[in-house]
Symmetry: C2
Subunit: 437 residues, 2 copies
């Protein structure tokens, strides 16, 4: 593919009941996480706006104190398979954990989604932060760095399974009676520290070779996992300086692995609150914050800090906390934020309730486009994982008001050039075992 002008990549981070914890209470909001009709309309909106992909987060726990978008929701792979039928270009990425799954199952479902969507699948590799997840699997929650060691081996096995059959392994020659060609079969026979997987996979090679790999942990081990394997990195960054320093660190690790730094797109979460004036945007966020139930906000904060806060004064400062085993980078981001802005625990909880640590931007469409351009041009980001505070209104506003500005400035595509998610990202199809791409 000829090298074209660098452009912004856009993902729609889809959470049915909205990203702001009170987003579902907005008069324009439709609920939500299990409403297929709404989700189909949102996917169509993102595709009309030429987004690179739609992204589903995931978790393996629930409870009535959970974020409304997370307490009850579709399982991501089944939902994306359904959405693959009502879209034709939009990339479709889902989160799946390497701590509570089997490489054979994961390789299979993403291969299957890639076939069903004709090359639009992406896998967001996560290690599952929350220790309480273990109770749903009769398991022990491994500690932070071990979770990443498991993830490294897990991803290797999955990639190996995707290569089980060469691209032309199924001649289906009726006359000769050859359906599968035994010479084009690669037996993985993986025997490692955490997994032992023989193969082959019972799926032909995916249309993209390998579905797109996304990584969303920002600690050192998380960045290393991404440097070796990922095509996209999702991350939460509060300020442009923090984002630039993360960007630099992550790209250096990519280069150290001998990879082209442009083959990995760094996409921070971006929560846009859009008004016709700045004041209107500010009032809109204040309205949502005013609807926030503190009993919903506190568990979100506690979870992302990885530390219990009971006993502390909500209107006092955040205490000094040791490094969390659960989420190293997110916890650090929040403690840094509280210090920098002098926030009380209650104020920090509200901030987390609004954007879970992601960058919240208030303003007019032009102000929001300006901020995106700045982050993009100053190498704080290659694109953004857009997090509308409520649906469908929050996405409609972004697509009808902000996207056209980015397009006019030549910063974002006005038409898809290819059909696969790899095409949108400007990266090539993965070659099979014989090196054929």
């Amino acid at each position: 593919m000829a090298k074209t002008k660098r452009q912004i990549h856009l993902g729609l981070f889809l959470q049915g009941a909205g990203h702001h914890v009170a987003g579902w209470r907005h008069p324009d909001a439709e609920s939500g996480s299990e409403n297929l009709d709404l989700l189909q309309r949102l996917a169509a909106t993102a595709e009309r706006a030429k987004f690179d992909l739609l992204f589903l987060a995931d978790g393996l726990t629930s409870g009535s104190d959970a974020h409304p978008s997370m307490v009850a929701r579709f399982e991501p792979l089944t939902l994306l398979s359904a959405l693959a039928m009502s879209t034709t270009r939009l990339g479709l990425a889902a989160t799946a954990s390497t701590t509570y799954g089997e490489p054979f199952h994961i390789a299979r479902v993403f291969a299957s989604l890639d076939h069903l969507s004709r090359g639009r699948a992406g896998w967001n590799v996560v290690t599952t932060s929350y220790a309480r997840t273990a109770a749903n699997f009769g398991a022990r929650h491994p500690e932070h760095d071990e979770r990443y060691a498991i993830a490294e081996e897990f991803v290797d096995v999955v990639k190996g399974l995707w290569d089980s059959w060469d691209d032309d392994a199924f001649p289906k020659d009726k006359a000769a009676g050859v359906y599968a060609d035994a010479d084009k079969l690669n037996i993985l026979d993986h025997k490692g520290k955490y997994f032992s997987v023989k193969g082959p996979l019972n799926a032909s090679r995916p249309p993209q070779g390998h579905p797109v790999i996304i990584q969303a942990g920002s600690s050192g081990p998380g960045q290393d996992l991404a440097a070796r394997n990922a095509d996209i990195v999702f991350t939460a960054q509060q300020s442009i300086e923090e984002a630039q320093s993360f960007y630099k660190s992550q790209k250096e690790r990519v280069a150290a692995h001998g990879r082209d730094v442009d083959s990995l797109a760094i996409m921070p979460g971006f929560l846009p609150v859009i008004g016709d004036t700045f004041a209107e945007a500010r009032d809109k966020l204040a309205l949502l914050d005013g609807w926030t139930d503190p009993t919903n906000a506190m568990p979100l904060l506690v979870e992302r800090l990885g530390h219990d806060l009971s006993g502390y004064d909500l209107d006092g400062p955040l205490p000094e906390l040791p490094v969390s085993d659960q989420l190293q980078s997110r916890a650090k981001l929040l403690t840094d934020l509280a210090k920098r802005e002098n926030l009380t625990i209650r104020q920090l909880a509200l901030r987390v309730a609004a954007g879970r640590g992601h960058h919240i931007i208030l303003g007019t469409p032009v102000e929001i486009a300006d901020r995106m351009q700045l982050w993009f041009e100053e190498r704080a980001a290659d694109g953004f994982n857009v997090m509308p505070p409520y649906f469908p209104g929050g996405l409609d506003d972004f697509c009808s008001k902000v996207v056209p500005i980015l397009q006019e400035r030549g910063l974002f595509r006005t038409e898809y050039e290819g059909t696969t998610l790899r095409d949108h990202l400007g990266i090539t199809r993965t070659a099979d075992r014989r090196g054929v791409a």
Copy 2:
């Protein structure tokens, strides 16, 4: 629901490359297992013919000697989610193993499919016969009866997880700010011999209460699992006498559990080879048998017997074999068949290549309808899992020629009366924990 006239239930047993091992070589056959466009047309055909459901088998291994429908195929849950988008009434059932999976994941994907399809999901509970599966999961293959003990506990956990939230647990009351109602949450807290699963599930209660449960093992433990849990039993039966005796045994076990015997539908596999005359049907099967590669046929036989046959004369009789740990009922069915019809090993292998032990019926549409009526009225079956030898022709013939005869005779519906798979089966929605259905 008022008790209506007993009618035949029909399932389409969908194997993309056909059920006959050489079906894909038929001039009218389109391949096959990873051809979404073909599978969508087949689902539409079954729905136009008012089938109760479409059924996907599954396995967790592959190899170039495998059946062409099994060597490479879509993962069932992703495929059914896609097919749910192009159908509106057809039940959608998929196989998932209790030996190589986690109850939390399985509960989730079937709940999700039930939501996406608005109440049309079914789970075929299997214990995975083939020991070589273990090598893809770094596991030990448990022995036959232990696999069923695991399955019993697995199904209990899945049903418990489906009941995590009462039916009205999500008021989503914007004014009061109540998204989830904590009083309507049921924590499972299961601690058993094989599984320890806390819950709750991160999905609201499925539209059917519980998705339909199917069971497909016919040994004693298999029948017991079905008697306690299943709404449908799939089975392989060679003769009407065998089928009647299985039917009687299975229904007695249902009654012993205090259940209405009519709440469980017994559906043997049925492979129809249709001709305008009997001779034409016979020639069609001979053509397919003639295309059968013996190297493809022998592994299928060996697998279903659970015993190696190397060293035996292919043109001699089947030797006496001890009980198989892998598939007790299927192995017995095949050894009985070989004895009854005096088949050589080669002949038996061909029979397995054609229908894998299921009943093969040759004839005109009227002859096939007669046989179905006989089995149905003589209580050998409540319905049939229809296995076209090749696609799409084999299904088109059945739907355009056999189904209308069954309808004229009042043996099969001419229109759907309800919208869910439970509606088609004439069984009620499962009540939630408070007993509300």
